[in-house]
Symmetry: D2
Subunit: 123 residues, 4 copies
């Protein structure tokens, strides 16, 4: 077990990177290599599918089902997001840095809030 999430996500990103055909990944032996080899439509479709599965697991939890299924579905969603990131030469560290940048920028939540209020005021 990694000592922190960064280590874990970075190591998983490295495994995904190693699955690229250019890096020796074998689409006949690796699921990730296969998705990367098939190209964007293959893994982007999975992002849409996994997002839907998160929503379904959450709705079931709302009605009494085990909440831990949500963890597995979010893991699937983030995992396929990381495959997409790898394809485009991006990393989960980039995403975390972006999240930190926003957290550190005053006004971000306020703007989203104004938009949300405007929407609701008209609903």
């Amino acid at each position: 077990m990694a000592r922190n999430a960064e280590d874990a996500l970075a190591r998983l990103a490295a495994v995904i990177e190693s699955r690229k055909v250019a890096n020796g990944g074998d689409p006949e032996k690796s699921y990730v290599a296969r998705l990367l080899h098939k190209g964007p439509d293959a893994f982007l479709k999975k992002i849409g599918e996994e997002a839907t599965e998160v929503v379904m697991a959450a709705k079931d939890a709302d009605h009494g089902a085990d909440k831990t299924r949500i963890v597995g579905e979010v893991a699937d969603l983030w995992f396929h997001s990381m495959i997409a990131l790898a394809h485009y030469g991006l990393t989960p560290a980039d995403v975390v840095a972006e999240l930190e940048r926003r957290e550190g920028t005053s006004g971000i939540e306020e703007k989203a809030l104004r938009k949300a209020k405007a929407r609701e005021g008209l609903e």
Copy 2:
């Protein structure tokens, strides 16, 4: 800037947690508090929407657009996933632990691969 992602994700999770109304969050002042206060449909809808935005940014990148927009869209997707996790008493650390567990379990990728091959063999 945090020293590692665990710090970053854990700290962001703590901020989200503090936005719960039960913890003093104010739906009139905080976007996260507002989403949490409105309930699951509000943030689950955003997960579907943000997943679609990741797909659109990726397709645009396939056709030459700036790839960094993908980072912002994945950040949005993960951020709203974290709001959902918080609502259900879960954390990004749970998700990362699940990803690590899978990475450490032999056979996981092989099974996904067999399924992918079976699908494709019939396409």
Copy 3:
């Protein structure tokens, strides 16, 4: 070819209805019977997946690909929507009636417009 879409959609809905196990549908022989037999998560997941495929086909068309692929993807999306409708005892005629009802109701588009403007004014 049917003379009109009501014939076509109603007939397709009737075919889907006949695929329910209660109506003699065989999950071993029919894709629709199988989805209906597996239950909501099976066909709802497909709705999320097919919506993503519509988006991808559209983005490709924006960049010069054949637009007719969009027709096939929207057909997939509507088809799986109709499987869901059947499961819940609803029909495409209900959906078309709702669309007509809205068209006939003044103010519907105006309200959606006010919401859209409010959102954009803050973007």
Copy 4:
């Protein structure tokens, strides 16, 4: 009320067509004109969002909520699909024709069935 679904969908498609700026539609006065004027990302995002809302309404119905909400959400999904179709010079009649074509083609459901069985055999 139209006498059949084709009339209704064709008339709605004509209304959408008339909302194009090139046809005199005014983004300041019409929601559809505004979406069309903003371009693909605006209405494609809505398709992802509305698909998610169909899924949520269906899951709620599974747990006892009113099923008629599903009709409204599918209507939203189809409506925004039609806006996309219009943008690309396509019509709901094209989609219905595609659905009819498939219905008339033997072997379509059988192939989808083989794929579904292959997937499940490995689950």
